[in-house]
Subunit: 394 residues, 2 copies
């Protein structure tokens, strides 16, 4: 690169395209989210999470037999390695589930004799192993920490329903499972977010997919990345009731703060996922017999939009976290499982990116991420610091 085009330092690479990808297109201006050519609206309404996993991993929607085979393979991989439940039982019950996931996810390599082989077929096997396994780990941990026995997977149930079953030991209502499934579909992929970039960066060293996915889990655990819908829910609980909405908004706008779940780095209009999640959250509230959090969210959305228009002369839109908070909450899911559920879904996108990073054939092919850094540390003299032995140090 010539000097004039050296990028600005310390920008977090914002707005800089670091790769080409065929997986996902986020068209922020139009409010469109596209997985492998398909709009998220079509996928959320018509495709199961398993179909979306297949789409992301195999680059096209499956045929009937392909999906049936894929489904069998995922189900075979739901069982955990024998030493994993004892490990989970040995961990402190108060441990953050994302930390548990980071410890446990790479243990899935034990049931994968092919890990580390540089062959796309093997890596696809591993990807399926991770997609299936993460779900069982999260559910098992949630039960173990509550001093309940883990529930074995039910192979008559699909991925979403089985996860809810393993969590509660009861088969979920069809509509609830369907909403959860759509939630997984909508969180599966979103181009180069921080955790996906981490996964690709690790994969670019030719490390195996378990290493890449474990790293991505670590990245997702950061409050600037995952956990936004937890903070939406905490905000709703803080606001508590309708009459507090207006003062809450005023207070936030006065102090220059943010309203959680509103605004997005990329979307300049409605996040298409929020538009799908809102009615689901309402209906889920009805099923649970408590629409309070949905109602509060809806009123907050309306009032915040008015306030932003009036006081800041600009539009503001809900992002994916705004209604997923009340949706998952109404399902009875612990708030500290919201990020692990994000991982349970996004692992499909991460795996697709790892595969693209390691097997993309079209030029320009991905290469090891190895950036530079500008040294701004001080030297102690005209050249380097003089090393003084410890006896001589001041």
């Amino acid at each position: 690169m010539n000097d004039e085009c050296t990028p600005v330092l310390n920008t977090g690479l914002r707005g800089i395209d670091v790769a080409s990808s065929k997986i996902c297109d986020v068209r922020g201006k139009e409010g469109k989210l596209i997985y492998r050519g398909y709009r998220i609206e079509d996928l959320a309404e018509n495709a199961t999470f398993e179909e979306v996993c297949f789409l992301l991993l195999y680059e096209r929607l499956p045929g009937k037999q392909e999906l049936a085979d894929f489904d069998v393979r995922l189900k075979q991989k739901r069982r955990l390695p024998e030493n994993l439940v004892p490990l989970l039982k040995s961990l402190p019950k108060k441990m953050n589930p994302m930390d548990v996931l980071q410890i446990a996810a790479p243990m899935l390599i034990q049931t994968d004799g092919n890990a580390g082989k540089e062959n796309m077929e093997h890596v696809l096997y591993s990807a399926e192993n991770l997609i299936a396994g993460l779900s069982t780990i999260i559910a098992a941990w949630d039960r173990i920490r509550k001093f309940q026995a883990p529930v074995m997977p039910d192979n008559t149930l699909g991925h979403a329903a089985n996860f809810l079953y393993m969590l509660t030991n009861e088969p979920p209502k069809a509509e609830v499972a369907q909403f959860f499934d759509a939630g997984l579909v909508m969180h599966a992929e979103h181009s180069f977010n921080a955790s996906t970039f981490t996964a690709r960066q690790v994969a670019s060293t030719k490390a195996h997919i378990y290493a890449a996915i474990s790293a991505a889990i670590g990245s997702l655990s950061g409050p600037l990345h995952g956990g936004a819908n937890v903070r939406v829910m905490q905000m709703l609980m803080e606001i508590k009731s309708q009459e507090n909405i207006a003062p809450y908004i005023d207070n936030i706008l006065d102090s220059g703060g943010l309203i959680m779940g509103l605004g997005h780095a990329v979307y300049q209009t409605d996040d298409p996922r929020a538009l799908i999640l809102a009615p689901m959250s309402r209906r889920m509230g009805e099923i649970a017999g408590d629409t309070r959090w949905y109602d509060l969210s809806r009123e907050l959305e309306i009032k915040a939009k008015e306030a932003f228009k009036k006081r800041k002369d600009r539009d503001i839109f809900c992002n994916v976290d705004f209604y997923s908070a009340s949706l998952f909450y109404a399902m009875g899911i612990s708030m500290d499982l919201f990020s692990p559920i994000f991982a349970l879904s996004r692992v499909s996108g991460w795996c697709a990116h790892v595969i693209e990073e390691q097997f993309a054939t079209a030029a320009p092919k991905p290469s090891l991420y190895r950036p530079g850094a500008a040294y701004v540390g001080e030297y102690c003299g005209p050249d380097e610091c003089r090393f003084a032995n410890i006896e001589e140090r001041e």
Copy 2:
């Protein structure tokens, strides 16, 4: 950024400065490696690994009392959480030690009640916990996989000597411990290599240091990053004896291949670490009663330099891996521990970078790494693909 200055895609960010850092300066043309202002030659000769850890973490060399206190803290953190050895015992004996480390490292969070708190003092505590703990994990695993009982740390010994003691159950000779210590010093830091970038990237999400270091371990496990000195050793074993050197070099040069351990992405002259490691490797061979691998390395270096000059009209230089291979091998260390030992040392640099990423106060401050990607996937029509239900798919 304006369009003319959009960086080239898929370069792996090579040559692009993505941040400012005060930690390490790699001056490739001059063959200088500088930690916080100090030359690697001075540090390798005069400073212990503990002093270098202090320098990297606390931004200056310690005074006598500071070093003594630091030493006590590290020793207190050598003990592993109670459930860690049972976990290691439950893992398949043939598991790759880097995979073991990726599972076990985040378990150290259990002995750290402050993890996740956004306070520099807490993060420094965690960094010390990781530096101390990784060493014990690696040694314990090496013994457990050989059906030997793990050896408890000996707090009369320094970091390097204690590691070798925990590995063998025998206190190492002073000279051997000193060489190993210098080896740790020389691998501690090297600016924005792939694993360090991974650690910083995860840290930029405000994830805690255990998440960042676990991710870095995953990144280091990739053959394009860690493991180069293993491949040097494998090459030496393939060459076997002096008379095979010339044909080996000819063969590599004919086929356009690489000679492992020669050449470096940044250094355009001698890697300063290789110049220090070469005599150590020779002496270590003498101590072990077998200088064969050093002799072979030395002859290979001389002949390869001649061959590159003659056939390619260019100079070629040893990098850090060239003589560290025969050095560690002569110490009797298993080859698949070379990368874990790299981690055992580099964890100090990773931690310094995590702290800089999260606490740097000078502008421009680091921000979340969230790059973009160019979507190059195909749409199926003028707009998005038409979603066909599974029954209708061809």
